[in-house]
Symmetry: C2
Subunit: 224 residues, 2 copies
């Protein structure tokens, strides 16, 4: 006997089952030489007093990407943040109120460019060290962060995914530190530079960064 034998609700119809969609964005930041994740507690909702990544429901007239922008802005004030899709989660009981599936994204930003403010509906918002995530996280958000982190690590291996993690102009040691902290490994200075230069993605500004011993040169990402 076959559990699918008499299922014919394959076709999209006006009365097809519907459920809510949310976009969740794992926002990574890089500060004090540590990779951080932005988490918040809401003042309202079903799982108060639990930390979660920014997320919220999609509406009729928007794509999920529109929704992600909207949500990020509403909950953090951030605007024009680049993000990429990671994965979609659809466990049946992931949301206590009703059936909700969520499409997840990650974003990389530089916290000092985006000071945290308490927006409406937000009780607390904080950067957490990747290795010191709080115990009480809502929904499946711990899994979600894990997956997003793995995704970022993979992307970093052959592309340049600095995103907004560094200021527009940065030194090579700064870039290398970023890589080391995201990949969680130690890199050789000369080999790292060799690789970056042959990727041909950096442009020297000719200027030196003041206030640092050694007087390191400032670079920026080449625009295509």
């Amino acid at each position: 006997m076959d559990r699918y034998e008499n299922l014919e609700n394959i076709q999209v119809r006006p009365d097809s089952f519907e459920c809510s969609i949310t976009a969740d964005i794992t926002v990574f930041g890089y500060v004090e030489n540590k990779l951080k994740v932005l988490l918040l507690k809401k003042t309202v909702g079903d799982i108060k007093d639990h930390w979660m990544v920014p997320g919220g429901v999609m509406e009729a007239q928007e794509t999920i990407e529109d929704c992600a922008s909207k949500v990020l802005h509403a909950l953090t004030g951030f605007q024009n943040i680049h993000f990429e899709q990671v994965r979609t989660y659809s466990s049946i009981d992931r949301h206590p109120l009703k059936r909700v599936i969520t499409v997840c994204y990650y974003a990389l930003i530089k916290p000092e460019n985006h000071p945290l403010t308490l927006r409406s509906n937000v009780q607390s918002i904080e950067w957490f060290d990747m290795d010191k995530l709080p115990e009480n996280m809502g929904f499946d958000h711990r899994l979600l962060i894990q997956d997003a982190y793995a995704f970022v690590q993979n992307n970093l291996r052959d592309r340049l995914v600095v995103g907004e993690l560094l200021p527009k102009q940065f030194t090579l040691p700064e870039l290398q530190n970023l890589y080391e902290h995201i990949l969680n490994i130690k890199l050789d200075k000369r080999n790292f530079r060799k690789k970056m230069f042959q990727m041909d993605i950096l442009k020297s500004t000719g200027e030196k960064k003041a206030g640092v011993k050694g007087g390191p040169l400032l670079y920026e990402v080449k625009q295509l």
Copy 2:
């Protein structure tokens, strides 16, 4: 002025917007030394006479993965097929009848293990060469196939993603052909073998395949 200023519908509520979810599965097959995609035309629905990948709506009591299994079985009869998530698409007008977002998967199967039959609601079902996809494809399914194909190629580079594309026991030349056709490049025989052996994923059965000149050895994938 800010387009998001007075949006507060972030929170999941009982009356949050809902829409239908579909799972679409790009099924790749490998036959006659060619990589193929399984497409079908339905007898009912909104875009008749257009080829599309198997897909259908998710219901209340199932995850999207459940849905993908169900849909695949309903439309093709295939069962116990392994598939992986590729990406979620949410353009507003992608479906003519109503708002539908789709979560896409890919699967790799061996056509000769899964003969095509016309199931209910299916008008035609066929394997198409990857480089000879039909003109009249429904929805955004051409894009969807492109993305799935790129995904498979990437996976193949460092993992073994034979899926079900080959029989349980296969020869090294067969495996190499598969790689060459998926990656669309020519590989060196000796180097390919060297790589496979040092990946340590193959187990020799000790038997030779009959009916082939040279008497090639049969291998199978090592189970962990």
